[in-house]
Amino acid sequence: MIPSRFAYHAPRTVEDAIALLQSHGDEAKLLAGGHSLLPLMKLRLARVAHLIDIGRIEGLASIRQSESSIHIGAMTTHSELAESELLAQRQPLLPRAAIQIGDVQVRNSGTLGGSLAHADPAADLVPVLLALEAELRICGPAGERSLAAGDFFTSMFTTALAPDEILLEVRVPLAPANSRCSYEKVPHRASHLAVVGVAVQIEFTADGRCDQARLALTGLAPVPYRALAAEASLRGKTLSGESIEAAAQQVTDGVEPLSDLYAPADYRLHLARVTTARALASLAPL
């Protein structure tokens, strides 16, 4: 399978890439790691007349710390996330999810920005960013803007990015001192995307109660979501069999689940509750 013909552009700066997006309109697409876009182009499900490779723009693939957050460039690969010492120390939820993406080859090519912009309803990094209330830095012809992760994912495979905008960077807060996190996933046997994936970070009080719980789920709904009712149910509680079960029952509140031959709706709902319970149990003090 070979994509249909296109013109290839390899701009060296963000400004040039945006100018190319502007001049070619909906005939243009950005290419990051290519691990969502190229398969679609090979199957001719995506037709692109102008492919703009942002892989040669310097400075889009770095992970650095500022006072209260970590800044991650959009072109950072899943492998770089998984192996980052800084993230392992200061925001371990990201590497824990990144290491569960696809396989070595996919992680070496696929990027954070590509995964977010593609907005697959089963992507692993999306719930992580929702749970962490990440900020996304976006650049367009009129300059830069910031958007909360919660406002970025609008529907299945659709984001708030305008056609001439580029996602530059993701900012996540440092993990609070007394917090623990986990990413639990039931992978699809063939694609390895999440049938259900649960990202959780809990900040504990000094006496071991949940102060602030953050829970987000992928794979279940057209857009990954924060499970606010479940979060609220944990506040002030210790993680016990009882509180975990109560929270797990609530993660599917109000959700209209996806359904297909591999995982019908009721099975997905069941998996979401079981996976949530597992993720929470893994955070309970020994």
């Binding site: 013109a7 290839y8 290419l31 398969p39 892989g55 492998s79 080859q105 063939a190």
Partner: protein, 159 residues
């Protein structure tokens, strides 16, 4: 479009269409047919090569993305004479039957051992998740990679 890629240690310039996949460039233009196409849908890993030292699936990368970069295929792995330790171990441990997956498996094993010289069995299995074998049942491949790790650390220990 003109690209210039260092393939198996040799600087190579060629004219490619932008839509040419790296695997087609390697197989059809450079005749490096050790790079196999199994699925063509980024699942099987038969097309795995190293791009700037990182294991990638060459059916899901454009040749133009490799411009000014370095590619290592199975043909460039062995020394001028003889076999690479991973290849030797595959032979000795009977880690192949039809051999179709083997170039990708060997590249994946080499990529793993360059980063982790003494991997555990679960680490080996994890490193092979992107490589399918329809013949062996994987056990002998895993055994071969452990054996290759041992071989390489012995060789390095020698003066």
């Amino acid at each position: 479009m003109q690209i210039s890629v260092r393939v198996n240690g040799k600087q190579t310039s060629a004219e490619v269409e932008p839509r040419t996949l790296l695997v087609h460039f390697l197989r059809e233009q450079l005749r490096l047919t050790g790079v196999h196409i199994g699925c063509d849908t980024s699942q099987c890993g038969a097309c795995s090569v190293l791009l700037d030292g990182k294991l990638v699936k060459s059916c899901t990368i454009l040749a133009v993305q490799a411009d000014e970069r370095e590619v290592l295929t199975i043909e460039g792995l062995a020394p001028r004479e003889g076999l690479h330790p991973v290849q030797e171990a595959f032979q000795e441990c009977h880690a192949l039957q039809c051999g179709f997956c083997t170039p990708g498996m060997v590249m994946a094993a080499h990529a793993l051992l360059s980063r982790r010289p003494n991997p555990s069995e679960p680490e080996i299995r994890e490193a092979l998740r992107g490589n399918r074998c329809r013949c062996t049942g994987y056990q002998n491949i895993v055994t071969a990679i452990s054996a290759a790790a041992e071989k390489q650390s012995k060789r390095e220990a020698q003066p």
